[in-house]
Amino acid sequence: MSADLQDLYQEVILDHNRRPRNFRVLQDGRMAEGFNPLCGDHFTVYLKVDGGVIADVSFQGSGCAISKASASLMTESIKGKSVSDVARLFERFQQMITAPPDAPIEERREGVPGDRVTLGKLEALAGVRQFPIRVKCASLAWHTLRAALDSPGEMVSTE
């Protein structure tokens, strides 16, 4: 197996694919659907926001290992964070997965000095940058989350 593949399918990713966290329906919350018409990945993100903070978040649906693990990791990493921090985190995440393959890892990790937002476990998805065609898989749950925050009930498409 190539180094790029090992980088993409890290143990953390495989684990979250096998046993996705927060993989359930959340009653009485906001929700949004995300769909990638190219490959058929389809997720619903459920959300409860309380006083500008993500009180609870979950997801359901089906997709490839990258999209499912990314959704699972996302739910873990945003719970308890403020909506504005989550927006920053999405920005950092997006930067990480779309960075040129040879960009030094420190640049992606450090961010702006004094930034409270760190990628943490989400760094497991850094390997996606070697596979530009899979960037949409990794970001599908995040786009869906943003739709749930901005205009709940929306259907999001990555195309």
């Binding site: 197996m1 190539s2 790029d4 593949l5 993409l8 399918y9 495989l14 096998r18 190219l38 490959c39 058929g40 990945d41 389809h42 089906s62 997709g63 490839c64 290992a65 990258i66 499912k68 596979f131 065609i133 899979r134 898989c137």
Partner: protein, 401 residues
């Protein structure tokens, strides 16, 4: 077969590995002779057709007309004027839906398609049915991916005007009994369009033996260039259809008050056509005819049997589409590995397959799968390449254990 040397792209390497191209249902590779033909056209022959009195225009016109005759012989149409050059199978179906469909469908009429159709043989019919107030009826398939002929017979009704059916399923490989389908439709007075996109490069096609009214295919799926395709239509039908697009080349005379249209096939070929595409397609058909479609079919049948056995040996792998009559297309899923991940892992080994819904979302819904991985073979593929596919699939399994 010693044909691999004819295809320069098959010599290239991908990610340091020899390319194993198993995505022929998406598009086929081009032999050197086709590439050379297109280059020669632009280097030495380029001119517009049906206009100039100069030598180049005459040469280009001759080449264009000769290509039409070759296509006619290739599918055994009765006359060359029954061959209309279009952009591809999709445009051919849109043409028939927008002209024949619009002219013949009344409120309450029905168009019959099958559950295994490609989006290109669904959406144009949906559009014209909606416009005309006609109904779209769907012939179901069995779990193995075969057309339910009993259901087809039941659905064929007094109001069925058009049956549109694929010759070979791009997602399952199923070869439909088109001759029987046509006979049954004709008994009820319906016309039949057969989508031959996945058939023409893999088996001999004889539209008169089949009896179909329309037959469509794309050049790029038969070792020719993209952007060129063929609509075959029985002359009596084409003559009575309104034109599809207006413009130059399709007219007899134009005044600001009135235009009279040209004869078929020019009536359906408005504007300067894809001349380079037509001569490229001509060369591709010449190439594949020299090999012989019967030989191609026999070779691919053997390779399909070998591939089916090899894939079936992989624990947890399930084939989708196991019809008795199949083209060399293998759609499959592996337990706990999404087709998209299979595609990425195989690509690292230089193995090119398709992962997704194959433009057949209703079919995927029927089969209860979000997507499949698909290896689609051509006559230039080998057992060694199938072995490479299997080895790479075992790597995928190892990653996901």
């Amino acid at each position: 077969m010693r044909v691999r040397e004819d295809f320069p792209i098959l010599q290239r390497r991908v990610r340091g590995k020899p390319l194993v191209y198993l995505d022929n249902a998406a598009t086929t590779q081009k032999p050197q002779s086709v590439i050379d033909r297109i280059v020669r056209y632009y280097r030495e022959e380029n001119a517009n057709i049906h206009r100039g009195v100069h030598a180049l225009s005459v040469e280009a016109t001759d080449a264009y007309d000769a290509a039409r005759e070759r296509v006619q012989r290739f599918i055994n149409a009765a006359e060359a004027r029954e061959i209309v050059f279009v952009r591809g199978a999709t445009e051919a179906i849109n043409l028939v839906a927008a002209t024949y469909g619009r002219a013949h469908l009344q409120r309450g009429d029905e168009v019959l398609i099958s559950e295994m159709e490609h989006h290109s043989n669904i959406v144009p019919w949906q559009m014209v049915c909606e416009e005309r107030g006609a109904g779209l009826r769907i012939v179901p398939i069995t779990d193995t991916g075969e057309l339910r002929l009993d259901e087809y017979e039941r659905l064929l009704g007094e109001r069925t005007r058009i049956v549109a059916i694929t010759h070979v399923s791009n997602a399952l490989g199923t070869v439909n009994p088109v001759t029987e389908i046509v006979q049954m439709a004709h008994q009820r007075g319906a016309v039949v369009l057969v989508d031959g996109a996945q058939a023409v490069a893999h088996m001999p096609v004889d539209v008169r033996a089949m009896g179909c009214d329309f037959y469509v295919f794309s050049g790029h799926k038969i070792f020719g260039p993209t952007g060129i395709g063929v609509l075959y239509g029985r002359a009596a039908l084409l003559e009575n259809m309104p034109p599809y697009q207006g413009g130059g080349d399709m007219i007899r005379s134009v005044t600001f008050e009135h235009t009279s249209y040209g004869d078929i096939p020019q009536k359906f070929e408005a504007g300067t056509p894809n001349i380079a595409g037509v001569v490229g397609l001509d060369e591709a058909i010449k190439y594949v005819t020299a090999i012989g479609l019967s030989s191609v079919a026999a070779y691919e049948r053997e390779l399909l049997a070998y591939s089916t056995d090899a894939l079936s040996d992989i624990p947890g792998l399930r084939l989708t589409g196991t019809a008795a009559r199949k083209a060399a297309i293998l759609s499959f899923a592996i337990d706990d590995i999404h087709p998209h991940d299979i595609g990425t892992i195989l690509d690292q080994d230089g193995v090119a397959i398709r992962a997704g819904h194959h433009c057949c979302q209703p079919l995927m819904a029927r089969l209860g799968v979000p997507a499949t991985a698909r290896a689609s073979l051509a006559f230039y593929n080998t057992r060694e390449e199938v072995d490479a596919l299997v080895a790479s699939l075992r790597t995928a399994k190892a990653v996901f254990i």
